[in-house]
Amino acid sequence: MIRLTVNGTAHELEIPTYRTLLDCLRYDLGLTGSKEGCGVGVCGACTVLLDGKMISSCIALAVFADGRSVTTVEGLAEDERLHQVQQAFIDAGGFQCGICTPGQVVSAKALLDAIPNPSDAEIREWMLGNLCRCTGYYKIVESIQAAAQRSRA
């Protein structure tokens, strides 16, 4: 039995010890925003925040989150209002096919929490673990710059 808080809601779950946090979120809790890409912590599609710090949920066991707090892409928007990072990705065209987008958005939110006004170099260094095969990354960097600017305004 584990107790964890996901996007502000407390859960008690009975799960096998080998359940990854990603599978727990997707199949036990129905939060399918986080994706499985590589399954070995490289591609970033499964990025979530554990106690506010971004991690790869595909190589974290669900039991690691016992007593802790998880934020997924589903937890970013407040009611019907998108998080400013999500809105910026839409406005600046920070995605095409969308498979990597939940991970990109969660990583970008974590970046702006840690570094509110990042340089392009800081954005690229932070985001290098979130692979995208469509955008060529330029518009992702622009999206994050736009989100940072809006939060300054």
Partner: protein, 291 residues
């Protein structure tokens, strides 16, 4: 992944007791980046995971008698951004910054990286050059080992069954020292190195001649290793192109790389000489600036 028992004790003695109870079938887990990945790939199938994640007192970064002590549970990221690490050992902070991605550095721990003993990892290379010591606890009590005696083979350490790494201690560098870590990455920024090199240079009071140099290398053997023959060439010498070339050639004799997708054995050996020369140059310049 196979089914396994999971235990998450809060006290170290309890973790040691569980390890003793399960013997060789138990694995210790902290961040999980190495072990969970290997379990997912069915390379290891432990009957029990003993998690150190809730053990109190293993997550501290502290100055102890002039040395830096990193608890086993300190994450790479915590050490990388720690003001104490950045001030006392900027080369270690820079090394940690080059490991994988921020996401992985939030998970992977200092103790876990040592226990995993993959010779492609970066922090052991710099810690080896810095002369770090490992603190170990087991049922028979505490012991310490210089890092150079800790790594035994590919994924093999001097840890006995039932023993754990609880901390690593880095002694302060003498005055007039400079350090550098370089990672040759021909593919992607989050990859393991083709060759990684750390160098520490301590100058004589004249700020010209080398009193002592230490060179450590990663990704070019079954463990991280010291290039001792190259180090010996440097003592008492002044920096010159021919000295750097001789040290690089000598370092090639210490390595035994494998051919893989990061380069052939011959290429890695040749790049060892190049990286040693560059790391020594940077460390030497840093030593001059510090003097």
């Amino acid at each position: 992944m196979n089914a396994f028992d999971y235990r998450a004790p809060r006290v170290l003695d309890e973790a040691l007791a569980v390890l003793h109870e399960y013997g060789e079938d138990a694995r210790v887990v902290a961040g999980g980046t190495a072990l969970v990945t290997m379990m997912r790939q069915r390379l290891v199938r432990p009957s029990c995971l003993v998690s150190l994640r809730d053990v109190q007192g293993l997550g501290r970064i502290e100055a102890v008698n002039g040395s830096l002590r990193l608890g086993a549970l300190v994450t790479h990221r915590e050490a990388e951004i720690s003001p104490l690490v950045r001030e006392q050992f900027p080369v270690l902070a820079e090394t940690l910054r080059r490991v994988g991605t921020v996401r992985i550095r939030h998970m992977a721990t200092i103790g876990g990286a040592l226990g995993h003993a993959d010779p492609n990892q970066d922090p052991p290379v710099t810690l080896l050059a810095l002369g770090a010591r490992v603190e170990i606890r087991g049922a028979r009590g505490p012991r310490g080992l210089p890092l150079g005696e800790f790594f035994r083979d590919y994924y093999e350490t001097a840890l006995e069954s039932g023993e754990l790494v609880i901390a690593v201690t880095v002694p302060s560098l003498p005055a007039g020292s400079g350090a550098a870590f370089l990672k040759f990455l021909p593919r992607t920024a989050d990859d393991y190195a083709t060759v990684a090199a750390a160098a520490i240079v301590t100058l004589e009071q004249d700020c010209e001649r080398c009193r002592e140099a230490r060179i450590a290398l990663g990704s070019v053997g079954v463990t991280p290793l010291r290039a001792e023959a190259a180090e010996a060439l440097l003592s008492g010498e002044r920096l010159s192109e021919s000295l750097l070339q001789a040290a690089g050639e000598a370092a090639k004799g210490a390595v035994d790389p494998l051919s893989d997708h990061r380069g052939s054995a011959g290429y890695k050996r040749a790049m060892t000489a190049v990286m040693v020369g560059r790391a020594l140059t940077q460390a030497w310049e840093a030593a001059r600036r510090s003097a």
